[in-house]
């Protein structure tokens, strides 16, 4: 790929407070700038009875990046401090999407940094790998017996507060082939859909009724590739809305596409094997994010083909017309820079999601830097 087009510095605010921008009910997502690797953190909505948010971590491909961010969120009073009763389980879920080193290199340090019950649950796909970082990760989990360890497959759903997490992949058919080399390691990836708020039931003196709030939806694609996504498309079909009286009387659950996303973290850093046109068309993401290095890096990611099909899915040119720039399509890269003379790196991407609306923030860090929450600059959409 070519270096991403510089984003106009004039469209990035200065002096706004990122932490103040997020309401308690908002879903907040960080795609950390870790170069050719992945590290993500999701802040779940704060429950009214709670003083703090809980977090979900997905991958720690670089040592220190995620713990540093968590520590800053603790200092800022977003996540409960060590001596607070709500500290236990405040890292509600840690996910190692798959055991490639660029996704788990910092995992052991992350787990060891938070003993004493702060981490409630850990998921990995169950693909054993021989690299040192895998052994370190498993040993770190073993040192904390209170961490629930699980290997979810597609369709598994977990509710944490008002958020619902659906495991999209791997299919159990893929997991059953792990030990025969029948599944490529990227295709073992746990990809997730996180939705908040989930469907709720309101109870009062008049009985109970179900409410479906306008939710915010993240799809985190890990490194899943074509084979894995083919199972996802099969396992989660779109059932067209039925408007017949019979369907109404039966309260048939159709017309909801489980793959729709407000934010899509593109799988495998934009590898040409990581996404396909139909998948992105199904998701129709409002914001598309790619964890990458500026110029191809070690593996040539993101690939021109992947970029082209993502753009086509977001803006069909079948009937002609010119292609919009990535920023207008809301495709952002952790490797983005601004168009100032200094060509400042834009680094980690933060997204604040509220009832399907979203704000994109940039933190200006390089892969080896900590995320400075005070340095956040909000992206103003192009007119």
């Amino acid at each position: 790929m070519a270096r991403p087009d510089p984003l106009p510095a004039a469209r990035l605010t200065n002096g706004e407070d990122f932490l103040a921008a997020a309401d308690d009910a908002d879903l907040v997502y960080f795609l950390c700038n870790v170069g050719d690797a992945d590290a993500q953190l999701v802040l779940l909505p704060r429950a009214p009875a709670s003083g703090f948010r809980r977090a979900v971590v997905v991958d720690a491909g670089k040592v220190d990046k995620v713990p540093s961010l968590i520590d800053d969120l603790i200092t800022a009073g977003i996540i409960a401090p060590d001596n607070h009763p709500e500290a236990a389980g405040s890292l509600a879920l840690v996910v190692a999407s798959h055991p490639h080193k660029d996704h788990v290199e910092g995992m052991a340090e992350l787990i060891d940094a938070y003993p004493g019950g702060r981490i409630a649950e850990f998921w990995d796909p169950g693909y054993w790998h021989t690299i040192d970082a895998y052994h370190d990760m498993m040993a770190a989990i073993a040192r904390q017996a209170q961490i629930v360890y699980a290997q979810p497959t597609s369709g598994f759903r977990r509710w944490i507060g008002s958020a619902a997490i659906t495991v999209l992949s791997p299919s159990v058919q893929l997991r059953n082939r792990f030990d025969t080399y029948g599944t490529e390691l990227n295709d073992s990836s746990i990809s997730l859909r996180i939705e908040a708020p989930a469907i709720r039931v309101v109870r009062d003196a008049g009985g109970q009724r179900m409410v479906r709030p306008r939710a915010s939806r993240l799809v985190l694609g890990a490194d899943a590739q074509t084979l894995s996504w083919s199972y996802v498309l099969t396992d989660f079909p779109y059932l067209a809305a039925s408007t017949t009286e019979q369907a109404r009387l039966l309260d048939v659950g159709s017309g909801v596409d489980v793959l729709r996303a407000d934010v899509f973290k593109v799988s495998h850093h934009g590898s040409k094997h990581g996404v396909n046109l139909e998948l992105v068309e199904r998701m129709r993401p409002a914001v598309t994010l790619i964890s990458s290095v500026p110029e191809q890096g070690r593996y040539g990611f993101p690939h021109d083909i992947a970029q082209a099909l993502i753009r086509e899915a977001l803006e069909s040119t079948t009937s002609g017309g010119t292609r919009s720039i990535d920023a207008r399509l809301r495709i952002f890269y952790t490797a983005d820079r601004d168009d100032s003379p200094a060509s400042r790196p834009l680094g980690t991407i933060g997204v604040v999601l509220r009832r399907g609306e979203r704000q994109v923030w940039r933190f200006g860090d390089q892969p080896d830097d900590a995320v400075d929450l005070g340095a956040g600059r909000r992206w103003l959409e192009l007119p």
């Binding site: 054993w128 021989t130 052994h135 040993a139 030990d179 080399y181």
Partner: protein, 209 residues
């Protein structure tokens, strides 16, 4: 009360860990305690293969942690990630597989080697020993030791297993010409010990890792 899946593992203190023995993979020349493993020898695992490139996770040769039995790869600052051409890696590995009478096969992610004289060019490596089977068994043991508690001696008795497990699965001899050496794990990814054709009788065990 919080339900715990397992008892926490407590590694030995640093004074004990420094005396930890090197990992000696079963079924390899390294299993002989008289075979020296040098401080410069490296544990090299293939993390991934992307087209013409292989990414290697390189670490000091591990020791066996005295109280948990896990592999300990030492300080992080002595580890590295190195990308090499697949062709060069394959050629270097094949050369020593031939001389060690090991099966020639394409390299794959999760292959494990002891490399003497490691450098970023595989052609310059002094020696390569393929210990993939033992490496994969160690990784599986790492997972299962985390997922469930170690059995109590009373359970071992109930299972009719000796605490020290050394016997091999008793299946038919593998036919190397027909596709290599089965690693003894079932098709479901569980270490259930089914042989490739005929299930062995009695309790099934694996070599120590």
């Amino acid at each position: 009360m919080i339900y715990e899946q397992r008892a926490p593992e407590t590694p030995a203190g640093p004074e004990t860990a420094s005396d930890a023995p090197p990992w000696r993979p079963a079924e390899s020349p390294l299993a002989d305690p008289n075979v020296a493993i040098g401080p410069a020898d490296r544990y090299v695992a293939i993390d991934r293969v992307d087209g013409p490139l292989a990414t290697l996770a390189v670490a000091p040769w591990p020791t066996v942690e005295p109280t948990t039995g896990r592999l300990d790869f030492g300080p992080r600052d002595q580890r590295a990630t190195v990308t090499v051409p697949v062709d060069a890696l394959q050629a270097r590995v094949d050369a020593d597989r031939l001389s060690a009478d090991q099966l020639l096969r394409p390299i794959r992610p999760s292959d494990v080697f002891l490399v003497s004289g490691f450098g970023e060019e595989p052609a310059g490596w002094q020696g390569v020993l393929d210990v993939t089977r033992a490496g994969r068994l160690a990784a599986k043991a790492s997972l299962y030791a985390t997922a469930a508690p170690a059995p109590h001696p009373d359970e071992l008795e109930a299972y009719n297993l000796e605490p020290r497990i050394l016997e091999e699965p008793t299946g038919p001899a593998p036919d190397a010409a027909a596709g290599g050496v089965p690693d003894g794990a079932g098709p479901g990814g569980e270490a259930d010990g089914e042989g490739p054709e005929t299930p062995p009788s009695g309790p099934v065990a694996y070599p120590a890792v």
